[in-house]
Amino acid sequence: MKLFIASIRILAAAFVVCCIAYPLAVWGFGRVVAPDSAEGRLIRTADGTVVGSRLIAQAFASPRYFWPRPSAVDYNAAGAGGSNLNPSGEKLRARGEEIVARYGATPERPLPADLATASGAGLDPHISREAADYQVERIAAARGLSPEQVRGVLGSGLVNVLEANLALDAISSRE
């Protein structure tokens, strides 16, 4: 019994420090040094509506937009997950075939691998530069822009799909 009493006293102290003081301290630190990322790097329109998070992929189906990597959870940011498919299995091959058809990939113009594979959480906000270039012609045609204009929204390295699509809309609204 004495053992339990000592345990209770220690667990109570640990609860106060670990579960109250510590998270509050980290929370306070975040509020001061990085308030934007502490809230999830949300993007808002002028009237305050949340468009999305820079870190979280969203579904894009219109040919006017860059398309993100496939998502095993249909971009559900309240229930994320990967496909957990066997990398040599039939189910994954079937998805590969479906995506190849959607992009019209050919042996001469193979699809970048990131566009055919679902990410770990199904919310990867990025595509590779190759995967973005792969989609430039389609977007240019759909928007009536030149491919150079579309390429203009891409930086070097990985492409954040939501940011690139916001930039596309900004160009189109200026035209």
């Binding site: 004495k2 053992l3 339990f4 009493i5 000592a6 345990s7 209770i8 006293r9 220690i10 667990l11 640990a14 609860f15 420090v17 670990c18 579960c19 510590y22 998270p23 980290v26 929370w27 630190f29 975040g30 990322s37 809230e39 999830g40 790097r41 949300l42 949340v50 468009v51 998070s53 870190l55 969203q58 894009f60 940011a77 309240a78 229930g79 994320a80 997950g81 990967g82 496909s83 957990n84 498919l85 066997n86 990398p87 299995g89 994954l92 190849v100 050919t106 699809l111 691998a113 055919a116 594979t117 679902a118 770990g120 199904g122 990867d124 990025h126 590779s128 190759e130 990985l158 699509n165």
Partner: protein, 553 residues
């Protein structure tokens, strides 16, 4: 960032930092640790007693029973408790049992998805709470073991040790790591989920939360239970290369430092260096294996017009780079952490063998505290075998290793494969397991094998395609986690206690030295041989068959 640089920063950073941390651990657990007066006051009357190994175990047991009760109550009533902005409902009894066992035993096997099922109170007040005190339990037990081997008749006081580990090691380190996480872009908010209206007019609900604080102790305490379902592949749980590298260092640094702490308390630093070297060799082996096999493109896409120049990207995140999948997979299973930086189910079949091996051996640095305790058992076996081979009386730390010690060591080594192979056999043969796999054939067998390996190693990662939130899975893995946690703590402590009672024999030229590379080779041989004899048949039925089926297509 190039893969070589990531590897250098991660492993180099962990190696360098483990040295001063080991020194700090030794200071904290020395006879006159800082803040001991405060800890004695908190513990009350029992804070002043010197405990024998059995009394120490009893104290640890009571503490852990209480942990279990508290977590079960919180999880069982979360719908009525505060800090539930998204209105999470009640959980089923078997999921409560499983999650409680999982977090009390430092396993963090998750048969639920955090952002779907758990309130903020459950996440912070129950799960994160356990991530601190269960990790502290492991570190405390290692300190007791080391003191017994140093020859002390009593092994310290559990109630003081567990506070030292919590307040002087885990809390300050977590704060530093969480701070780096916040700078690296990880969310830390008590605001609930937000509704976003996308450019195409759809509505997306984005779950958020106090992620940074949670993830820091998840990584440091070899816990591994993620805030979000997909763990550290989730962009909020691992938003950038900075958080990625910090996370990988954090998951291995305390297990590494525990080896140095063991060396300092026992006063045998050269021996500790040999053991550290053996662990490092095992780590390097698993790492080379997994990086090599994961650089092959996704096998399912053979013959499709999909570029095959970047390795297997299924289940991986672009911002974390190509190396993170295999590197994290090896680190997390070597250390009994169990967080993931890529989906293990979708690793190439032979890559998947590396994490399985990590959990089967379970002492390549291992869980905080308990990894070195596991290694201690292998050391006893190696000392004994070496003694037999050269015809000398086996001795360790100046004490004779005899029948009683060997019986206890063999028993410890016996239970681990029994839980894994026995459990796998039962579930593979019955609907309990066969009805829950998401892939037919050898990959399905691997899923079952992985789940039991993870539970028995107190690891917590999984081949997540397995539909494991069922009553049989929840109950079976709970029992395995509990037994596989406390048996390998209790029996080694009994060995150390038994050694401590023996008279010290003088170390002469005839004594088998344990602080030379030759002993390291011997130890490595024992580990590899025992592991191979036990687990190769299962490896052949799972990952290897999976790979061969591929080749034959």
């Amino acid at each position: 960032m190039s893969s070589t640089l990531v590897l250098l920063l991660t492993l180099g950073g962990a190696l360098v930092l483990s040295w001063p941390l080991g020194r700090w651990l030794a200071v904290v657990f020395s006879a006159t640790g800082p803040c001991d007066r405060i800890f004695q006051a908190t513990a009350g009357l029992l804070g002043r007693e010197d405990q024998t190994w059995s009394r120490y175990l009893l104290a640890m047991g009571s503490f852990n029973v209480l942990m279990f009760v508290i977590v079960a109550i919180i999880l069982g009533t979360q719908q009525a408790l505060p800090f539930n902005p998204d209105g999470k409902g009640p959980l089923t009894w078997d999921l409560i049992f499983n999650t409680t066992a999982s977090f009390v035993t430092n396993t963090n096997l998750q048969h639920y998805s955090g952002e779907v099922s758990m309130s903020y109170f459950s996440q912070l007040g129950a799960l994160m709470f356990m991530q601190f005190v269960s990790a502290a339990t492991g570190i405390a037990c290692l300190a007791a073991l080391a003191r017994a081997l140093a020859g002390a008749p009593t092994v310290g006081n559990f109630f003081i040790d567990v506070q030292r580990a919590t307040f002087l090691v885990l809390i300050p380190m977590s704060f530093i790591v969480a701070g780096l996480y916040v700078l690296g872009g990880m969310p830390m908010t008590f605001g609930g989920a937000v509704e976003a209206r996308t450019l195409e007019g759809a509505v997306q609900t984005i779950a958020r939360g106090p992620v940074a604080a949670f993830v820091a102790i998840k990584q440091l305490g070899t816990n591994g239970g993620g805030f979000f379902g997909p763990n550290s592949t989730h962009p909020f749980e691992n938003p950038s290369m900075l958080t990625n590298i910090v996370s990988m260092i954090a998951l291995v640094i305390i297990p590494m430092a525990c080896v140095w702490m063991f060396g300092r308390i026992t006063g045998r630093m050269r021996h500790a260096a040999v053991v550290f070297g053996v662990m490092l060799v095992l780590l390097a082996g698993k790492l080379s294996w997994s990086v090599w096999h994961e650089s092959a493109p996704t096998p399912a896409f053979n013959g499709l017009p999909i570029a095959a120049d970047v390795g297997n990207l299924e289940g991986k995140e672009l911002r974390l780079g190509a190396l993170t999948g295999p590197l994290w997979a090896v680190l997390t299973t070597s250390t009994s952490n169990g967080s993931v930086g890529a989906m293990h189910d979708s690793l190439n079949p032979l890559t998947g063998l590396a994490p399985l091996t990590g959990m089967w051996l379970n002492e390549t640095f291992g869980g905080v505290g308990v990894g070195m305790i596991n290694m201690f058992v292998y050391i006893i076996v190696a000392v004994f075998l070496a003694g037999m081979m050269i015809g000398r009386t086996p001795e360790y730390c100046g004490k004779r290793v005899e029948t009683r010690e060997m019986l206890l060591a063999s028993a410890t080594l016996f239970f681990h494969p029994l839980f894994i192979l026995g459990g796998t056999a039962i579930f593979a043969a019955t609907h309990w397991g066969a009805g829950t796999i998401s892939n037919a054939g050898p990959h399905g067998f691997s899923q079952i094998l992985y789940e039991f390996s993870s539970a028995a190693a107190n690891n917590g990662s999984g081949f997540e395609g397995l539909g494991d939130n069922t009553v049989p899975w929840n109950v079976a893995t709970s029992l395995v986690m509990l037994l596989a946690r406390y048996i390998p703590i209790a029996l080694p402590l009994a060995i150390a206690g038994s050694l401590a009672r023996k008279p010290r024999v003088a170390e002469t030229a005839g004594t088998l030295p344990v602080d030379v590379p030759t002993f390291g080779v011997m130890l490595l041989g024992v580990i590899v041989l025992l592991g191979a004899l036990t687990f190769l048949p299962a490896a052949l039925l799972g990952p290897v068959a999976d790979h061969l089926v591929n080749l034959s297509r």
